[in-house]
Subunit: 192 residues, 2 copies
Amino acid sequence: MADDFNTYIKRNINLNDEDIQLMHSMALEKKAHRREMLLQPGDVCRHKMFILSGMVRLYRTREDGSEHIMHFATENEWMTEPESLNHGTPTAYYIEALEDTELLLWTKRDFTQLSIAIPQLKTYSENIIAKNLAMTRERVFNTMSATVEERYDDFIRDYPDVFNRIPLHMVASYLGVSLKTLTRVRQAQVKR
Amino acid sequence: MADDFNTYIKRNINLNDEDIQLMHSMALEKKAHRREMLLQPGDVCRHKMFILSGMVRLYRTREDGSEHIMHFATENEWMTEPESLNHGTPTAYYIEALEDTELLLWTKRDFTQLSIAIPQLKTYSENIIAKNLAMTRERVFNTMSATVEERYDDFIRDYPDVFNRIPLHMVASYLGVSLKTLTRVRQAQVKR
């Protein structure tokens, strides 16, 4: 596990062993069971999380209980709710483990300290949030301009690793369509 | 103009006069005419921009030429295309001045230098991107779960200053509906 993290950090942020050791020494290790909630509406998000193994999702619910998935993260990806973390305000989101998941957690305070000691980390952190923004804008654009068929194909292409590990109703929830609609799209594709 | 920037920076980032002076000294001042393009698809985004006066929009087009607006920014707000800026890759977006607009521009290199000299600036910059991410996620959620009526009301409430300054077809483009649909929604509201 620790080795995976070291390999990831070396490949992506190009830190030396001493810096990686410092990052690791300030992290909390956590094991979350499948379906365990790591954040719930009304909580304040306290951590930046790095996923060593497993998968988590960030989602929101409507008053009628329906779920809208914003983001999936798997091994060697990061997860947090940045607005809540940055401002200490209650979140509207859930973060849930979709599989048994192993994580490294840093508090905002510790991550800030690390960023002072390791300036590349701050730039890297900003780039990850910017990448998430770009993906979310792409999603707004696609929701408005592409067909369900195209968006389903995009999802399979962009998230093959997620697609193979989640139930179909979560794909529907991510695409913002009913399970019935998605099933119809899939059946039409099989016939083609 | 310079005074507005100084007031904004003091209120939002709490810098001393010397730091503000340093920021200002590294900025390019630019005046853009109404409808002038500050970024176009295929360009690499080279600047972080601060809007002193006027208004800009970030948008994308489909192959059929239809426009999808991602973001508006007015006085005392920031604008950039962070993915293109961070990675030096061609953008898919337009940034257009919707009014005669005065801006301060920093290159990525100069803003990085400033962030080393003024660490609060880096945190502030990350927080702005995180806020944009939160707004865009909110928009995905609303597009999937709220009616056009609700989303129109939200737009007026959240962007009163933008709403009063743009033509109705841009409101429709932001909401991802046709002008015809939006007109119908507005007429029904008047009748209520």
